[in-house]
Symmetry: C2
Subunit: 444 residues, 2 copies
């Protein structure tokens, strides 16, 4: 059988996520992000389109590098206001049966005992449809919000994250035996104490406790990771089951994918970011794209990109070469900028690359054109699927489900029904971590 495409919607509990300025479009409803019905409607659309998951991004601070303050981000609704992503999931799970949910949570700031219980609770309530996008945080504003003067350095954050993961693995996988809950009404024994034990935290996450939650369908949430730095890829090889990459060049992404697959100690699914503008025909799609583009915000895109790179683009001349970034910023994006700096990138060229309000160029066309483009990514870059960014909501996802999904199915690259079982079962064929995975602890 032809390799099957995986599809996640890529979203955030906010107004402007990736393509900035789209909230200004008269049909856009992203300002409804605080309403439950907005999210339950989205979940129903995605499940109708047999999407594998909804991937929810998050950050814990405001983008305040551009112009030396948060003003541009606030004006343009660039990921602010920003609500908690985890709390959307129970409502969406209650109106769906199969859709997965990948939620971004940071190892640097969430206490592991409390976090492990939240994820187990979600895994129970969703009947095994939870994924975790592991991040370590990269904003100075988040560090200050958490009471730190400055951020923990990049590579050290990943060292902490290794300890954090090893701690939550123990809570999820080594504290309760699968058969600990016996629920014997006659004898009055609900769970057998001999099959439950305390576990100890690792490294800086010293703790001593039994997990409070009984085993859930997946035990460990499906593990996503998106760090593209050298240390981030090393971390991904140890922990990630799914990797999320961004890139505009298929050969460059193919090289990165090959490196990730070679390093990984267990099977890996790779998702690449994509933005699609689709309509019934290529010409109608071009019209829709021109309409959307009218609302794109350069200031919003600059505010976002400045925070990602640590470079204040408000200070730069339009035609001066882009300097290298300071050390505290998001490493993967720093590397990207540095590469481009060697090609004499300028602020003017950067702004020209902000097509719909971000540096991610959209795939624009009728259903066949879009299907061709997506299939080419899978073939040429060896990715398994896509995290689809939103433009005008919810019509961009309705368009995709109505127009692109049927063509992908005709081409034989997309499922026509869901597989039963938890999210990991659907993607990898087994509900729990692969036995070779670092977190697949054996209970003594």
């Amino acid at each position: 059988m032809t390799k099957q495409m995986l599809l996640n919607a890529f979203d955030m509990n906010t107004v402007g996520h990736i393509q900035h300025g789209m909230w200004r479009h008269p049909r856009d409803e992203s300002h409804r992000f605080g309403e439950l019905s907005y999210w339950t409607g989205l979940a129903r659309t995605l499940e109708r389109g047999l999407f594998d998951g909804l991937f929810l991004a998050d950050v814990l601070g405001v983008y305040d590098v551009y112009g030396g303050g948060p003003e541009a981000a606030i004006r343009n609704a660039v990921q602010v206001p920003l609500n908690d992503p985890m709390l959307l999931i129970p409502a969406m799970a209650s109106v769906t049966q199969h859709l997965g949910f990948g939620v971004t949570c940071t190892t640097t700031y969430e206490p592991p005992f409390l976090f492990a219980r939240r994820m187990s609770t979600l895994d129970a309530l969703t009947r095994g449809r939870i994924g975790w996008n592991i991040v370590t945080g990269y904003l100075d504003s988040a560090a200050r919000a958490m009471g730190l003067a400055v951020q923990v350095p990049h590579d050290e954050r990943y060292d902490w994250a290794d300890d954090y993961l090893d701690t939550v693995y123990r809570l999820w996988n080594a504290s309760w035996d699968d058969d600990a809950v016996v629920m014997d009404r006659a004898s009055g024994v609900f769970a057998d104490p001999a099959r439950i034990r305390r576990v100890q935290g690792v490294g800086r996450y010293a703790m001593d406790a039994m997990h409070l939650c009984a085993p859930t369908p997946q035990r460990t949430p499906l593990l996503y990771q998106a760090g593209a730095s050298t240390r981030g890829r090393q971390f991904a090889a140890q922990h990630a089951e799914c990797v999320f990459l961004n890139g505009t060049s298929k050969p460059q992404v193919a090289t990165l994918v090959a490196d990730l697959r070679a390093q990984a100690l267990h099977p890996l699914k790779v998702f690449v970011g994509a933005t699609v503008v689709v309509a019934a025909s290529d010409s109608e799609a071009a019209e829709k794209f021109a309409d959307y583009r009218h609302y794109a915000s350069v200031e919003g895109a600059l505010a976002h990109f400045s925070a990602s790179t640590g470079i204040d683009f408000a200070k730069l001349d339009m035609d001066a070469p882009i300097p290298s970034a300071p050390g505290q910023s998001n490493q993967s994006n720093v590397e990207a900028v540095t590469t481009r700096a060697a090609q004499v990138w300028t602020k003017r060229r950067l702004i020209d690359s902000f097509i719909l309000g971000s540096r991610q160029p959209p795939i624009v066309g009728g259903p066949q054109t879009v299907a061709d483009a997506l299939i080419a990514w899978m073939t040429e870059a060896d990715v398994d699927g896509f995290n689809l960014s939103r433009t005008v909501m919810p019509e961009c996802l309705e368009d995709f489900v109505n127009l692109v999904v049927p063509v992908l199915q005709e081409r034989g690259v997309f499922k026509t029904e869901y597989t039963e079982g938890p999210l990991r079962q659907k993607l990898f064929g087994h509900p729990r971590l692969h036995p070779d995975h670092r977190g697949a602890l054996r209970v003594s």
Copy 2:
């Protein structure tokens, strides 16, 4: 108009909450606590009965005092397994319009910046139906789970909590002006940076950040508090809008209520814990009670009470006087035990008081009898309403809604429809904190 009775269901994301052993009853469904449909069904029942709220308890550790370990708690499902309570709320909110949700979260272990965002997210998603039961934690097992060797001492935890509250008040009330979100599509301004500012944390909760969430209907969740110690009552006078008490003697509770109302700097609603076993007639209720009582667990009740008091009752002779408790345990219960010790309480007398699996004696009777008993509490102890503990689920709440609520309405002490607006509006007539409240910060 006669004073109107307030009603909360008192529950927990677990099998056994207060009346231990009830899970053994053949009709009990509390083992379904990991299923969304269990909770959405409960929420619909409560809203049908015009309940004001669902109050969700929580602890962050296991009860391991009795017998020197968690075995008795685990066997009897005494608040273990225990899932996160907050994550139940979005699903229940999506199937209701008016029901409030009070959720227990501890100031000692949740980082304030992350917690404030979670509560704002819930207040948005529920359209202002969120309450917070402020606790400081009292279990050594929770302290160890959070990486501490021992607990922070009782009164010091309340000092920390004062700083914590003052920090989250700033995030909720002083960071964004009411009119900060302008959403002007024409000018491209979503929010006005001049109407948003960073706030600073207080005391040990040093931080510097703008709140990430735009103003929500209540801004500050409705504030519940349940500490009955001297320091706890002092804290309640400063912060709590609703107080939750337990007590079996109306005159003693009346004294406590008078003290609380005298100390409080703002209007206060007082809820007392109650357990009701109701049927169509007094005699049928007596039969039902006898049936339920058959399943009550003495070991479960001892495991819970040992943890509450810090006394290992497994070590005590049946007829020896109960000693005073060590210092690390739940202060309010310690005081209760000490009082009783003066009356020469023994383990045997304690066990005799575990009528349905806890020390809370049930109100048993037909609808008129139950209504009489509840109204007597309101009249004689000056409480505003009740946190109703569960017995056999969900039938105990269905019985209450079907049988007791209509009688309370006939008596003119219970509403026949909900008031519109947020939870605080329904209870106090205004959606935001009272202007005299310590947290009602004025934006400069």
